[in-house]
């Protein structure tokens, strides 16, 4: 395996395992398996009380949106955590190429986000009796994976900001809340006020959730490729922005000797 690939795959996995301490079952089960189910139940019941959408609408929206928890928090921990462990100067002192160094940390996070969303989708659907066409299962899984990938791009931006902001967890929570409100998770984007819709369309998850909902409604995969393509493009844009911010903050930290200053 070439040096860059080793940094990408092995380095990324090691960093994820070492720094994302949420992998302990004592945190993983309540945070990744229990909490998303209750978010689904909360909004499904609010939706029933409001008489707005079907249960399926809320199950899909909230399950996929919950991928944001690992995508934001894990990315924040796997990069911002280096500073708390005082290993950031060592990492940035290595001659490792920066693209595999930073992006390699994102790969396990994408997998984590996908698994969380998929479990929430399956268990949430089972609890609420939501059914989707059998032929739509694989395309919905793909839409979920694309959404997790795209959200990890935003997670990289969050991680980069973690080099400047002291409370990465608080920042992650705020971004999570913004995604919950703006991405059409519980209120269709078309029903949001006009000024919110352009923001919704520029955020990850919005198009992925919409694609998954259309697939569950019986639309063929060909009918959502545009949405999934947009979701991927948005994710790539955030990924590029996050990488750029990481390099920028790295350079600024070297210049001002503030690498370890929170």
């Amino acid at each position: 395996m070439s040096y860059g690939l080793r940094v990408f795959f092995v380095g990324g996995l090691m960093s994820y395992r070492a720094l994302f301490n949420w992998l302990s079952p004592w945190i993983l089960i309540p945070s990744f398996l229990v909490a998303p189910l209750f978010q689904i139940l909360l909004f499904t019941y609010v939706g029933r009380a409001a008489g707005l959408e079907s249960d399926r609408f809320y199950v899909i929206g909230n399950a996929i949106q919950y991928a944001a928890i690992p995508c934001l928090f894990a990315m924040g921990n796997t990069i911002g955590g280096e500073r708390w462990q005082q290993t950031l100067p060592l990492i940035l002192g290595t001659p490792a190429p920066r693209i595999p160094l930073f992006l390699g940390r994102a790969l396990p996070v994408v997998g984590n986000g996908f698994v969380v969303a998929a479990v929430a989708l399956v268990v949430g659907s089972a609890i609420l009796g939501v059914r989707v066409p059998l032929g739509a299962v694989a395309p919905i899984a793909l839409a979920t994976a694309v959404s997790a990938l795209s959200c990890t791009g935003l997670g990289l931006v969050n991680a980069a900001l973690g080099l400047r902001v002291r409370e990465v967890a608080v920042l992650s929570n705020v971004i999570f809340g913004v995604l919950l409100v703006f991405c059409g998770v519980n209120v269709a984007v078309g029903d949001l006020p006009g000024w919110m819709q352009p923001i919704s369309n520029a955020l990850p998850l919005t198009h992925g959730i919409e694609a998954a909902r259309r697939l569950a409604d019986g639309v063929a995969f060909g009918g959502v490729t545009g949405l999934l393509g947009t979701e991927l493009a948005i994710g790539a844009a955030y990924m590029a922005l996050g990488y750029g911010l990481l390099r920028f903050f790295e350079t600024m930290s070297r210049r001002h000797a503030t690498l370890e200053r929170a």
């Binding site: 309540p30 909490a35 609010v46 409001a50 409370e167 919950l180 519980n186 209120v187």
Partner: protein, 257 residues
């Protein structure tokens, strides 16, 4: 009794100040329930159910009180342990409950910021007017609800003391309590087996009292039940504290994480 009340008062004031120090945490504490309140307002407005907006606004305002309590209270002892204070607090010549209780009470009291912010948010952005039918009982229902939520936090903090990552459990308990206490949804929508769980939770009666006082009704019975359950939590927590402390002392595990 007087000394105990004095200790509770001083402890509450001290911890309220400590919790108010972090502007970033305070910002999140106010903002977090607003996300959920905003979604609920949008959902009810889009569903053409504008009459439910005040009902939702009142419920959403109490959500922040529970949010500020659940995660923080579940890790309250752990935080004292990390700060190296636990041994000193356990050795203080007063019942340990009198030290822990003001901490969780301060946590729930901090929720008053988000409560106010949510009501203002609903008024300014969604035009939800707050007309209170029984002003005195409304003013009484709020502190009683906050105190009882603080007591639930106290019981939670003692119950999960052996759980090393109790904050995760507290985090996971945020949505269930919002849900089953009927903060946003009437209890009548839930399956029958959920209702006894709701009735055992003081916030259910707290929010009912607040709503009855605001919307018109008879809040007094709900208020009394809320206070009684809160006292029950306090009594159960005090009994548990003794057991937990005795166990930690006999096994020399007080400072172990």
């Amino acid at each position: 009794m007087r000394q105990a009340l004095r200790l509770l008062g001083y402890g509450w004031a001290l911890h309220f100040k400590i919790l108010s120090r972090s502007a970033f945490d305070g910002f999140l504490g106010v903002l977090w329930p607003l996300f959920f309140a905003t979604i609920a307002f949008f959902m009810f407005r889009t569903g053409g159910n504008s009459s439910a907006l005040l009902y939702t606004s009142l419920g959403a305002s109490v959500m922040g009180v529970w949010s500020s309590t659940s995660v923080a209270a579940s890790s309250a002892l752990q935080r004292e342990r990390w700060a190296g204070m636990l041994e000193l607090l356990a050795a203080a010549p007063v019942h340990f409950s009198l030290i822990l209780m003001p901490i969780t009470l301060a946590m729930s009291t901090v929720g008053i910021y988000s409560m106010t912010a949510t009501l203002l948010w609903g008024r300014l952005l969604f035009g939800i007017q707050l007309h209170v039918q029984h002003l005195l009982l409304f003013a009484l229902a709020i502190p009683v609800a906050i105190l009882s939520i603080g007591m639930l936090g106290f019981l939670l903090s003692v119950t999960v003391v052996r759980y090393r990552t109790a904050w995760a459990l507290g985090n996971a308990l945020e949505y269930p309590v919002w849900l089953v206490c009927g903060f946003l949804v009437p209890l009548s929508l839930f399956p029958g087996w959920v209702r006894p769980i709701s009735w055992a939770l003081a916030p259910t009666w707290g929010i009912r009292a607040i709503r009855e006082a605001a919307l018109g009704g008879s809040p007094l019975p709900d208020l009394l039940v809320c206070a009684a359950i809160g006292l029950g939590y306090a009594a159960a927590g005090m009994l548990l504290v003794d057991t937990v402390l005795r166990s930690a002392r006999s096994r020399a595990t007080l400072s172990l994480t």
